[in-house]
C-alpha cells in the first residue's frame, strides 16, 4: 500500500509547489494548505500503515494484543495539523490585510521592504 501513498504524497507536493510559486497570495495560501497535507501524509506513511486498528488498548488489558497502528506519527501529525491550521489562518489574515493596505494581491507589486529602484550604495569612504 505504501507505494501508492508515496505517489499520492508526491502529487500533493507537486500541487503545493506549483501553487506556492504563483504571484497571487490566494494561490500561495492554497499551496500552503496542500503542503501541510502532503507533509502530514509523508510522516504518516513513513511510520508504516496498519489497516483499521487504532492505537487503543482494549479494556482490562495492560498492552495491546494484536498489532495496532503506529501511534507515534499520529501524535506528531495531530500537533502538526493544529499548528499548520493556525499558520494558515495567520497567513490568510496577512494576505487580506496586505490587500487592504496595498490594493493588490500580486506579490510582485508588494515592494515596500525591497524597493525596485534601490539606489547604488555610496562609493566613497
Amino acid at each position: 500500500m505504501e507505494p501508492v501513498l508515496a505517489i499520492f504524497v508526491g502529487l500533493l507536493f507537486t500541487t503545493a509547489i506549483y501553487l506556492m510559486t504563483s504571484r497571487h497570495t490566494i494561490r500561495i495560501l492554497m499551496g500552503v494548505a496542500v503542503l501541510g497535507n502532503g507533509v502530514n501524509l509523508l510522516i504518516f506513511t513513513s511510520g508504516r500503515l496498519t489497516r483499521d486498528v487504532p492505537p487503543i488498548i482494549p479494556a482490562g488489558l495492560d498492552a495491546p494484543l494484536i498489532p495496532i497502528a503506529n501511534p507515534l506519527p499520529q501524535a506528531l501529525i495531530l500537533t502538526a495539523i493544529v499548528i499548520s491550521f493556525s499558520f494558515f489562518a495567520f497567513l490568510l489574515v496577512l494576505g487580506f490585510r496586505a490587500y487592504q493596505e496595498l490594493a493588490t494581491d500580486d506579490s510582485r507589486d508588494m515592494r515596500l521592504a525591497e524597493p525596485a529602484d534601490d539606489p547604488l550604495p555610496p562609493l566613497g569612504y
Binding site: P64, A89, F90, Y99, M110
Partner: protein, 792 residues
C-alpha cells in the same frame, strides 16, 4: 621557568590592556599629565624585559603558557629568545616615550583619553605578536595589531581621508593576515607542528615538504602586506593621516616591522632555499628603490619619512633573504638603528608641525634658534640615518656593505641598489633634519618656539640611544645584536662591528654613498621635479587601483544582491523548492541510493484506490480551476480525501481533526475571498507555467522517491513499543495517541497551544492595527453581492 615567573610574564603581556582600560579615567582627572602615569606600564615591561637580557644573551630561551583550546591542541604560549626580546624592548621602550609624547602632542584634545587607550591596546597587541609561540596565538595578536591600527589611523574620523586610510590599512593588512593564517594552518596540517619553537627545532621538515612553496607564498602574503612591500606599499604613506605619535610608533618603529619580524623568525625554518633567496631580495630591493624615489618627490615632512620607512622595510626584507651571515647581522643592526632614528625623526616632524603650524618643507626655514633641543635631536637622528659616524646607523651601513659586496652580477646588482637607496635616504634625512632648521627664519603659520619637555624628551632619548649604542658597541652587541642575529640565523652568529672602520671595500662604498647622497641633496629640487614628471606620465598607481577595486566591489555586490534578491516572492519560493528538490535527488542519484522499483501492492482494496483517486481529482481541479471559488472547493476535496485515508489506516483522531480543519479552512477562505474585489482568475504566463511546473514536478518526484526509499528500509520501533507498553501501566490511558500528547510529551503540547495562542493574538493585532493612509477600505463594505464570480 617557574610558575611564579610564568605568571609575571603573563601579567606583563596583559599590562598594556589593563592600562588601556584606565586611560580615559586618568585623563579625565589629570589631563595630559596622565601620560606620565600611563607611561609607567610600558616602562615596567621594559625593565622586566631588561632583566631577561643576561639569560637570553647566554643563549637561553624563556617559554611558558597554558592550554587555551585543548580539544584542538591550541595553547596560549610565549617564547622569548634574542629576536623577540629585542622587539619587546623596542616596543616597550619606544612605547614609553610615545605615550609621553602623545600627552604633549594632543594636549587639550577632548579625545586624548581614547587616544592613549588605543595606543596602549596596540602596544599590548604588538607585544603579544612578538612573544607568541603558538601559531594561533600569533595570528590573534597579528590581527589585533591590524584592528588597533585601524582605530588609530581613523582617530580623526570626521575627515574622509582619515577614514579611507584606516579602511585601506585594515583591508590590506587584515587580508594579509588571512593569508598568514592559511599559511600557518598549512604548516600545522602538513607537519603537525603548531608553534614557532617546535618549528625552529624541527630543522628541514618544512624545506623538504612538497607544500613548502605554497606555505611560503601564503606566509609572505602576510609579511609583505604588513611590512608594506611594493606593490602593496601604498597603505603606509596614507596611514600618515593618523596623529604623529601613531606614525612614529606604529608606522616606523613597530607594527610595520611585524612582517620583518615574521620573516626573521621563520628564517631558520623557511630560509636557505632558492625561492626564499630570490623572492625576498627582489621584492625588498624593488621596494627600497621605489620607496626612496617616491620619498624624494614629497614636500610634506611626514610623507617623506613614510616613504623612507617603506624603503627601509624593503632593505630589511632584502637583507633577511640574502642568505649570508653578514646579511643577517646587517638586517639586525639596521632594524634597531632604523627604529631609533625613524621614531625620533617622526617625533621631530610632529613637534615642528605642532609648534610652527606646518609640515611643508618648502615653507619652513631657520627654526634652529627657536627650537635648539629639537634641532639637536633631529640632527643626530639624521646623521644616523645617513650612516655617518659616530652613530649606530654607521655600523648598520658598514655591515650592509660587508654583506652585499661580492663580484657576482647578482651581488653587484644589490650593492648598487643599496648604494642608491642609502644615498637617497641620506637626502631625505637631511631634508627633514636640516632644511627646516637652517637658513634665515621665515614666517610660519604659528610663531615657533621650543616645545614642552613632553615633546622633546622622546626624540632626545632616542637620538642619544643611537649614539650610545654605537659608542658602547661591545656591550650592545653582547646584549642585543648577537643574541638576535643568532636567533634569526638559527646558529651562533657573533656581531663584532665597531666604530673603528677597517680600510676596505665597505668603507669605500660608504664614502661613495655619502658622495652620491650629498650630490643628490644639492640637486633635490630638480630631482623632485623629474620624479613628479615621470609619475604624472604613468598616471596610475596601486593607490588609485585600491579605489577602483573598492568601487568595483560595491558595484559587484550591489548587482549580485539585485540578481539574487530581486524582491519577488515567487522567485524566492522557486529557488527554495528547486534547491530542496536538488538536495533530495542529487545524493540519491550520485550515491546510487535510488529506491527499488516497487511491485504493485497486491493487498490494495478498491475503496482505498477510489478515495486516493478522488483526492487526485481534487488536486487536479485546484490547479486547472479557472476561477478562485472552484479552486477553494476543490481544495476541500483533497483535504477530505486525506482525512478518509487517516480514517482507513487506524487514525480516527487525525481524521476528525482533519475534517474539522479542512472545513474551517475552506469556509474562512471562501468568506475572505468574497470580500476581495479581485479578478476572477489568476493568470500565469506560459513561460512561468513551464518553469513552475518543472520545479513542482521535480519536487514531487523527489518526495515520492524519498518516501519509497524510507518505506523500503527498516523502521526503528523502539519508541512505539515503549509507548504501547507503558501507556496504561504508567499513564493510565487507553488511547495511546492521547497519552503521548497529554502525558509523555505534555510539554510539547503546551508549546503547541502557545503557538496557536500567539497566532491568534497576531491575527487579532493584524485586524486591529490600521495604518494612517489607507489606500482602500474593504472591511466597511457590505458583504460582496453574489456576482458571477461568487456563483461560479
Amino acid at each position: 621557568m617557574g610558575a611564579e615567573a610564568a605568571g609575571t610574564t603573563l601579567a606583563m603581556m596583559l599590562l598594556p590592556f589593563i592600562a588601556a582600560l584606565f586611560a580615559p579615567f586618568l585623563v579625565r582627572q589629570l589631563k595630559q599629565n596622565a601620560a606620565w602615569v600611563l607611561a609607567a606600564a610600558p616602562a615596567a615591561i621594559f625593565i622586566y624585559m631588561l632583566a631577561h637580557l643576561d639569560a637570553v644573551s647566554a643563549g637561553g630561551t624563556i617559554t611558558g603558557g597554558f592550554a587555551w583550546i585543548p580539544s584542538i591542541g591550541v595553547d596560549f604560549s610565549w617564547y622569548i629568545d634574542g629576536l623577540s626580546l629585542t622587539f619587546a624592548l623596542l616596543i616597550s621602550g619606544i612605547g614609553t616615550l610615545i605615550v609621553i609624547y602623545a600627552g604633549g602632542y594632543l594636549k587639550g584634545h577632548p579625545q586624548l583619553g581614547r587616544f592613549l587607550s588605543f595606543i596602549l591596546l596596540f602596544m599590548g597587541a604588538m607585544l603579544g605578536l612578538v612573544l607568541a609561540d603558538n601559531f594561533l596565538t600569533l595570528f590573534v595578536y597579528w590581527e589585533l595589531t591590524s584592528i588597533t591600527s585601524f582605530l588609530l589611523i581613523g582617530f580623526d574620523h570626521t575627515r574622509e581621508a582619515s577614514r579611507r586610510a584606516a579602511l585601506q590599512a585594515l583591508i590590506v593588512t587584515g587580508g594579509g593576515g588571512l593569508l598568514l593564517l592559511a599559511g600557518l594552518l598549512l604548516v600545522w596540517n602538513v607537519t603537525g607542528i603548531g608553534s614557532m619553537s617546535e618549528l625552529l627545532a624541527a630543522g628541514d621538515v618544512m624545506r623538504d615538504s612538497p607544500y613548502y612553496l605554497a606555505a611560503l607564498i601564503l606566509v609572505l602574503g602576510g609579511a609583505f602586506t604588513k611590512s608594506a612591500q611594493f606593490p602593496l606599499h601604498f597603505w603606509l604613506p596614507n596611514a600618515m593621516e593618523a596623529p604623529t605619535p601613531v606614525s612614529a610608533y606604529l608606522h616606523s618603529a613597530t607594527m610595520v616591522k611585524a612582517g620583518v619580524y615574521l620573516l626573521m623568525r621563520l628564517n631558520p625554518a623557511f630560509g636557505d632555499t632558492v625561492a626564499w633567496e630570490t623572492i625576498l631580495p627582489v621584492f625588498g630591493g624593488t621596494t627600497l628603490i621605489v620607496g626612496t624615489l617616491l620619498a624624494v618627490r614629497q614636500t610634506d615632512l611626514k610623507l617623506m619619512l613614510a616613504y623612507t620607512t617603506v624603503s627601509s622595510l624593503g632593505l630589511l626584507v632584502m637583507l633577511t633573504g640574502f642568505g649570508s651571515e653578514h646579511a643577517i647581522e646587517a638586517a639586525v643592526l639596521y632594524l634597531v638603528a632604523h627604529s631609533l632614528f625613524k621614531g625620533c625623526l617622526f617625533m621631530v616632524a610632529g613637534t615642528i608641525d605642532h609648534e610652527a603650524g606646518t609640515r611643508d618643507v618648502t615653507r619652513l626655514r631657520g627654526l634652529r634658534a627657536a627650537m635648539p633641543i629639537t634641532f639637536a635631536a633631529a640632527l643626530a637622528a639624521a646623521v644616523s640615518m645617513a650612516g655617518l659616524p659616530p652613530f649606530f646607523g654607521f655600523l648598520a651601513k658598514e655591515e650592509i656593505y660587508y654583506a652585499l659586496w661580492a663580484t657576482s652580477p647578482w651581488a653587484l646588482t644589490f650593492t648598487l641598489v643599496a648604494i642608491v637607496g642609502n644615498a637617497l635616504m641620506l637626502v631625505i634625512g637631511f631634508a627633514v633634519a636640516l632644511k627646516p632648521f637652517l637658513g634665515s627664519p621665515v614666517q610660519t603659520p604659528k610663531h615657533a618656539h621650543e616645545g614642552p619637555v613632553m615633546l622633546w624628551l622622546g626624540p632626545v632619548v632616542l637620538a642619544s640611544a643611537g649614539l650610545l649604542a654605537a659608542l658602547l658597541s661591545g656591550f650592545f652587541h653582547a646584549g642585543i645584536s648577537t643574541p638576535m642575529a643568532s636567533a634569526v640565523a638559527g646558529e651562533a652568529t657573533p656581531v663584532s662591528i665597531s666604530l673603528i672602520p677597517s680600510i676596505g671595500m665597505p668603507l669605500f662604498l660608504s664614502i661613495l654613498t655619502v658622495a652620491v647622497g650629498i650630490g643628490a641633496y644639492l640637486a633635490v629640487d630638480q630631482l623632485r621635479g623629474a620624479i613628479a614628471k615621470v609619475l604624472a606620465a604613468i598616471g596610475w598607481g596601486p593607490d588609485r587601483g585600491f579605489d577602483q577595486f573598492m568601487r568595483g566591489l560595491v558595484r559587484f555586490s550591489f548587482r549580485a544582491t539585485a540578481l539574487l534578491q530581486p524582491g519577488r516572492l515567487d522567485f524566492y519560493v522557486k529557488v527554495t523548492f528547486a534547491f530542496i528538490a536538488l538536495a533530495l535527488l542529487l545524493p540519491m542519484v550520485m550515491f546510487d541510493e535510488l529506491p527499488q522499483w516497487p511491485a504493485w501492492p497486491s493487498d490494495i482494496r478498491f475503496h482505498e484506490l477510489a478515495i486516493i483517486g478522488i483526492g487526485i481529482l481534487g488536486l487536479f481541479a485546484v490547479i486547472v480551476a479557472k476561477d478562485r471559488l472552484t479552486a477553494i472547493v476543490s481544495l476541500g476535496i483533497q483535504g477530505f480525501a486525506v482525512a478518509l485515508i487517516f480514517m482507513l489506516f487506524g487514525a480516527p483522531d487525525l481524521s476528525f481533526t482533519q475534517f474539522m480543519v479542512e472545513t474551517l479552512s475552506v469556509v474562512i477562505l471562501a468568506l475572505v475571498m468574497t470580500r476581495l474585489r479581485l479578478n476572477a482568475s489568476d493568470y500565469r504566463p506560459t513561460g512561468e507555467r513551464i518553469v513552475s511546473g518543472a520545479i513542482a514536478i521535480a519536487g514531487g518526484l523527489a518526495f515520492t522517491l524519498y518516501l519509497l526509499k524510507v518505506t523500503q528500509g527498516t523502521l526503528d520501533m523502539r519508541l512505539t513499543e515503549f509507548f504501547n507498553e507503558f501507556s496504561r501501566p504508567i499513564a493510565h490511558g487507553a488511547n495511546i495517541v492521547n497519552v503521548i500528547l497529554v502525558d509523555f510529551r505534555g510539554t510539547d503540547t503546551l508549546g503547541e497551544i502557545a503557538v496557536v495562542t500567539v497566532a491568534g493574538l497576531a491575527i487579532l493585532a493584524l485586524l486591529r492595527v490600521r495604518t494612517r493612509h489607507r489606500t482602500r477600505s474593504v472591511v466597511d463594505a457590505p458583504i460582496a453581492p453574489r456576482t458571477a464570480e461568487g456563483e461560479a
